[in-house]
């Protein structure tokens, strides 16, 4: 479905739209307060962006260094060129260790690979352990936001979901009580799981270790209580030096939620005794994106979600209005790279206001990339042919002054003298909820000819 159609549906519930907009604006406001505490914020953004630029330009070397160090630390390293290979790696590892039940912490990469349905089909019980993820897993929904996966739901709906899936009393909607219920439920899952799966926020080339950031502590509960730890990492998640974390940990949580740092910043170098760590390095289209000069910066993303919280379109249309798993501004520059035809409407779901670019902690030029994708998708004829034709005609009218002036006179005459029903009908999308400007009898040029040119 096109973004505009899905968005219209979302907006038809005005109350919910207002609520969604305010909830996310609140996160943006918390972020603003947090960054104002850091005098050198803009310097940090520049540093992070430079580090990431270096990473992209030296990615093969850094990945090899990372791999060698990780192996030295006893980590089993696997490579996956696409989602299918990634999922097969996971399944094979689980089979090898006779795993029946897997606890998972949040990983957008495994979402991207559609890992859960694949594992379930193969008889593995998968438990998402991030509270938001667990809620949407019960509901069989994808995340609507990369940091706040259940932001589209009200507490009443969460209560209803727990009533259905956990058998709690009907009508409970207190977030504290609901969280306590989930805590007890998931504790049992942690204690009975055979393996834990996590994402990776940062893979550190010079130590071979990796870092995972969470607030709930679900990653560590899962990992330290099970015998097998599987971590999936996109190739772009590499940073060169451990001390680079000083820059990124200062940016990540402040941008994401306005916290000074995530509650847990866990550094995994080696497995604890009796445990194994498998790390899967995943490409899935990233190495292609690396070669697209206009879009390579999209790989800088550290998945903080700040561009979603600030985006006036995202806040009013919800995560599900975007056709790709990662919604919002960052999703809209990643999606066309993954599948241009399917996601062709996403780069147009923006006013190009540029707020995403200014809020981004690693300085991705998001709105410029949206503009570029619009050009590329149009050039590749992935947009509607009628729209392309209209633009072609406009381009002709505006290139010839006489034609432009004639069209202007005609348009003003039409708007000035037509009866209302001729102007305000369903073909006129402007006029559906807006009045057209009142029509002046003369253009500025006409006025100028009479009042200035005559005096020259």
């Amino acid at each position: 479905m096109k973004h505009s159609e899905a968005a219209e549906k979302f907006i038809s519930d005005n109350e919910r739209t207002n609520w969604h907009d305010k909830a996310l604006w609140f996160v943006r406001a918390k972020r603003d307060i947090a960054i104002k505490q850091v005098a050198e914020w803009e310097e940090l953004r520049a540093l992070a962006s430079q580090i990431k630029a270096h990473v992209m330009s030296n990615l093969d070397v850094l990945l090899e260094q990372f791999e060698a160090n990780a192996i030295k630390n006893g980590i089993h390293v696997h490579w996956a060129k696409d989602a299918e290979e990634h999922n097969n790696h996971v399944l094979n590892i689980l089979k090898e260790h006779r795993v029946k039940s897997l606890v998972k912490s949040k990983s957008m990469l495994t979402e991207e690979c559609h890992l859960n349905p694949f594992l379930e089909k193969n008889g593995i019980e998968v438990i998402d352990t991030d509270l938001g993820e667990r809620i949407i897993q019960f509901r069989n929904e994808p995340p609507s936001h990369i940091v706040l996966p259940a932001i589209h739901l009200t507490k009443e709906e969460v209560g209803e979901t727990f009533h259905t899936h956990l058998g709690i009393e009907k009508g409970i909607s207190d977030p504290k009580i609901l969280t306590d219920i989930a805590r007890a439920h998931l504790r049992e899952k942690f204690l009975s799981a055979d393996a834990a799966m996590t994402g990776v926020n940062f893979g550190i080339a010079d130590t071979g270790g990796f870092v995972v950031c969470t607030n709930e502590g679900n990653t560590d509960m899962g990992v330290h209580l099970s015998q097998v730890h599987i971590a999936s990492m996109g190739i772009e998640k590499i940073i060169p030096r451990q001390e680079d974390l000083g820059v990124f940990t200062r940016l990540l949580a402040r941008s994401a939620t306005g916290q000074p740092v995530t509650t847990y910043t866990s550094h995994y170098l080696t497995a604890q005794s009796g445990q194994v760590i498998h790390l899967i390095i995943v490409d899935n289209g990233r190495s292609k994106q690396l070669g697209r000069a206009d879009y390579v910066k999209s790989l800088f993303c550290i998945r903080c979600g700040a561009c979603m919280n600030t985006c006036p379109v995202y806040r009013r249309s919800g995560g599900y209005s975007y056709s790709y798993g990662i919604p919002g501004p960052i999703g809209s520059i990643l999606a066309p790279g993954a599948n241009p035809k399917e996601h062709s409407s996403m780069p147009f779901a923006s006013t190009l206001c540029g707020s995403c670019t200014d809020v981004c902690p690693v300085k991705i030029d998001i709105h410029q990339q949206l503009y570029s994708w619009r050009q590329d998708l149009t050039e590749d004829k992935k947009t509607s042919s009628s729209k392309r034709l209209i633009m072609k005609m406009m381009g002709i009218v505006l290139a010839y002054p006489k034609l432009y002036r004639f069209s202007g006179i005609t348009a003003r005459w039409f708007l000035g003298f037509s009866p209302r029903f001729l102007i305000y009908n369903k073909l006129n999308l402007w006029g559906k909820q807006r009045e057209l400007p009142s029509v002046p009898t003369e253009s500025f040029r006409d006025w100028y000819s009479k009042n200035r040119r005559a005096n020259l």
Partner: protein, 193 residues
């Protein structure tokens, strides 16, 4: 092999080499590290208490005396009633009410405390416990994460290291903050003098 094909594709696609920037030594900030730490920890749902080494036991009894099972990584403190070192399976830590852990250092700008494998009998301990007390020397404080990673580099760590900033929390239901998601429901840091 996917490894080779991925690396080959990267070599083909990657942009021209860009230099790696030099990181700031540490952004100098004027202010009281202890006060900043206390203020920030409060903000993230924890609390920091300045205390003299000799008063730790008494204070813990006063604060957490009602709790049954307490683990501690320091044998000189005399209130632990479970020896976690004798436990093999970390799942057996499930009933622990309180973990008292001596740690390395704290970070003033974000209220985080650094601890590593060598501070832990089990990695699960600071997560599975219902309440957590972390002890750091008051003078063992760095200002920010740049300084923190410089210190980590010097001291090195094996295996596992974690920054903990406050108790576990979530805001996944309607953005309302709830303390005590999966890990500890409270986190207290003792700053010892």
């Amino acid at each position: 092999m996917s490894r080779e094909s991925i690396l080959a594709q990267i070599r083909k696609s990657k942009p021209e080499l860009v230099g790696l920037p030099i990181l700031p030594e540490c952004h100098i900030v004027e202010g009281d590290l202890t006060e900043q730490f206390k203020k920030t920890l409060l903000l993230v749902g924890g609390q920091a208490i300045e205390i003299s080494e000799g008063d730790i036991e008494l204070h813990i009894k006063k604060m957490f005396g009602y709790l049954k099972l307490t683990a501690c990584n320091d044998g000189t403190l005399n209130f632990s009633n479970i020896d976690t070192c004798s436990i093999d399976d970390p799942r057996e830590l499930r009933d622990i009410d309180l973990a008292v852990l001596r740690c390395r250092f704290g970070v003033a700008e974000n209220g985080a405390v650094w601890l590593t494998d060598s501070d832990l009998s089990h990695r699960a301990l600071p997560f599975i416990t219902q309440h957590c007390v972390l002890i750091i020397p008051k003078n063992g404080m760095v200002w920010n994460m740049h300084e923190a990673y410089q210190r980590i580099k010097q001291e090195n760590y094996n295996g596992f290291g974690v920054f903990i900033s406050g108790p576990s929390k979530t805001a996944d239901i309607e953005q309302s903050l709830v303390i005590g998601a999966h890990g500890p429901k409270s986190l207290t840091v003792f700053l010892t003098t």
